[in-house]
Symmetry: C2
Subunit: 344 residues, 2 copies
Amino acid sequence: MQTNRVSFKQKLDAAVFEELQRYTKVAVIVDENTVTHCYPKIKQWLPEHTVIQIQSGEENKTIETCTKIWQALTDARFDRKSFVLNLGGGVIGDMGGFCASTYKRGIDFWQMPTTLLSQVDASVGGKLGVDFGKLKNHIGIFRVPDHVVICPDFLETLPQNELRSGYAEVIKHGLIANKEEWQDLSSKSLLEQDWEGVIQRSVAIKKNVVENDPTEKGLRKILNFGHTIGHAIESYLLDISGRKLLHGEAIAIGMICEAYLSVKKAGLPESELDSIQDYILKVYGKVELTDADIPHLQDYMLQDKKNEGEKINCSLLEATGDCGFDYVVSWDEAKESIAYYMSL
Amino acid sequence: MQTNRVSFKQKLDAAVFEELQRYTKVAVIVDENTVTHCYPKIKQWLPEHTVIQIQSGEENKTIETCTKIWQALTDARFDRKSFVLNLGGGVIGDMGGFCASTYKRGIDFWQMPTTLLSQVDASVGGKLGVDFGKLKNHIGIFRVPDHVVICPDFLETLPQNELRSGYAEVIKHGLIANKEEWQDLSSKSLLEQDWEGVIQRSVAIKKNVVENDPTEKGLRKILNFGHTIGHAIESYLLDISGRKLLHGEAIAIGMICEAYLSVKKAGLPESELDSIQDYILKVYGKVELTDADIPHLQDYMLQDKKNEGEKINCSLLEATGDCGFDYVVSWDEAKESIAYYMSL
C-alpha cells in the first residue's frame, strides 16, 4: 500500500494545482457551504473543470448521492485519466473518494479537507465510503488519495460547533498515542489552541498509526478509541428530532465511557479517568441520555464493523498516551459505562 | 497485489470447503439457475450459511441489486470476519465480488464460476463491479478474490448458447497470446473441444497476462482485443427487443472488426484475418446490423473506459498469437471495420 502524500499549505497558489494539467478532465465536488466559502479560494488556480454540488450533511452520505455523482461524471464524459478534487468535510471526502475510486474502477482524486475534523481525521487513512440505512460507513473501501492538501485557511469560516466537533479527534490522538500532546491540549481551552501546530501534530500521529497498519489488522484499531460507544450514540441520535449530535460531540461521550472501561479492564489509573472526563465535560458539556435510550444503543453497538460475532471489540487506554486494542467488552459492561456517563 | 489463487477441481468434496469453518458467517450468492443446478452440488459441504438469491441476467447487474445484497448481509448481521461465496456466472461473480469488497470495507470472498465464460474470464483478474445505466462495468474496483474454484462439472447443465458465448474468450486468449492454442481450437468445432484442457490452458494465458499487469496500466490491455467494438455492440443491443446478444456473441463480432483493423494498422497478414473470420462465422453465424445502428454504436464506443478523451483505444493483433495495445483508432476507422463485418 502506497503511503499518504499529505501537504500543509499556509497559502494556496498556482503551483499547488499545477499537476492537475495532466488530466483529461477535472471535477470539483462541493456542497452548498464549501461552494460559497472555499471554492472561491481555489477556483482561479484550477484548469477547466466541472463543479458537482451535493447537499451537505451525514444524511446525504448515501449510495443515492453516489449515483448522482457517478451520473454527473458520466454525463461530462469523464474517462480513466480524469480527476476528482473533493473540497469539503468528511462527507464529501469519504463519499467523493468512494465515487472516484469506483468510477471506471478508479480514477485519481485529491482530498482538500475544509473542516478541522476532516483535516485531522478523515483525510488520512484511506477509509472511504457511505452510510447504509442508519449504519455509518457501512459500504466502502480502503484507498489512499493521490494527495491530501491541508490548508488551515479554510477553518476561518467554520462554525464553532464544527471546530469543537473536530477537536474530539485531536483530543483522541493525544490520548491514544502522545501524553505530552494531551497535556498540552488539556491545559488550554478550545479557543486558545494554536491550530496550525495542533493540526500538524495531530495528522502526524494518525499518519504514523495508519502507515504501520493500512488495512486495520491490528495497531490501527487504536484510532477507534471512543468510537465503539460514540458511533452507536451518533447513529442512534442521528434522526431523532432535536437530539442529533455532531460526530465529535458523540465521540466525546464515547471517550468518557471508554475511559471508564479502560479503568475496569486495561489498567488506566482512576486519576487519569478523572482528568479526561473533567476536560471533555468542560469543552463539550453534558449530553442528556435516558434509560429508554439504552436498548437502542445496544442494537447499534452490536452492528459495529469492529465486532466479530456478538462480541464488542474496544480499544482501551492502558495509560494516557498508550492505547491497546482487541479488548472484548460485554454489553453489560458497555451499559455500565454509559450509566457512569449519565451519573456525572 | 496478491496473485490469483485458482484451483481446478475435477470433483468437489468436503476438503475444498474446509477452510470456510474459520469464518463467523457464510453467505452463498446464487440466481434462479445456479440455485437449482449448482447449489445442490456443494450444499452438503458448506458450514451453516445464508443463501442470497438474485435474478439472473446482465440487466440485474446494478447498484440496486447490490443494495439488496448489502441489505441481506446486514440483516443477517455479517461482520468483518464473515464470508461470501459467489456461485454463478459473470454477473454473480462481478457483482457479488463488488458487494463483498465494499461491505464493511471488504470481507473475504471466493468465486465459484459456473459458466464457461466466467471460468475462463471473469473469475481471473480481479475486475469487479456493476453496470450503470447502459454502461457496462462502469462502477467497480479491482480486487483479487481469496480463491477461485473452477469445476467443469458445472458446465454439464449449461445451455449451448452460453457455452458458445464463453468460447469467444477462449478464442480470444489463443489469438492474443498463443498461436498453437488458436490453431488447435480452430481445427475443431465447438462440440469437439476437450473442455477440461481448454479451460486450464485458457485460464493460464489470462492469469499470466494479469499477473504481469494487475491494474491494467499496459500489457493487460491485450485482453481487450475484440472488446472495444464488441462491448459497444453488446451495450447497444442489450435492451432492443429481439436483438439482445450474449457477451461472447458480441465479442465474436468485435474480434472480426478488430482483426480487420489489425490488418490496417498493426501488420496482421490478410490471410490470418481470413482464417479468423472464417472460423468465427462458422461458430457464431452472422449477426444482422444496419446503417441505422451505426450512430448509436458511435455513442457507446466513445464512452468506453479504455478511451482517453475522444480517442478510441484498441488492442490489435500484430500476428496471430501476438497482440499489441494502445493503438489509437478514429471513429471513421471503427465504422469502416463494422461495414466490413456487415459486408461478409
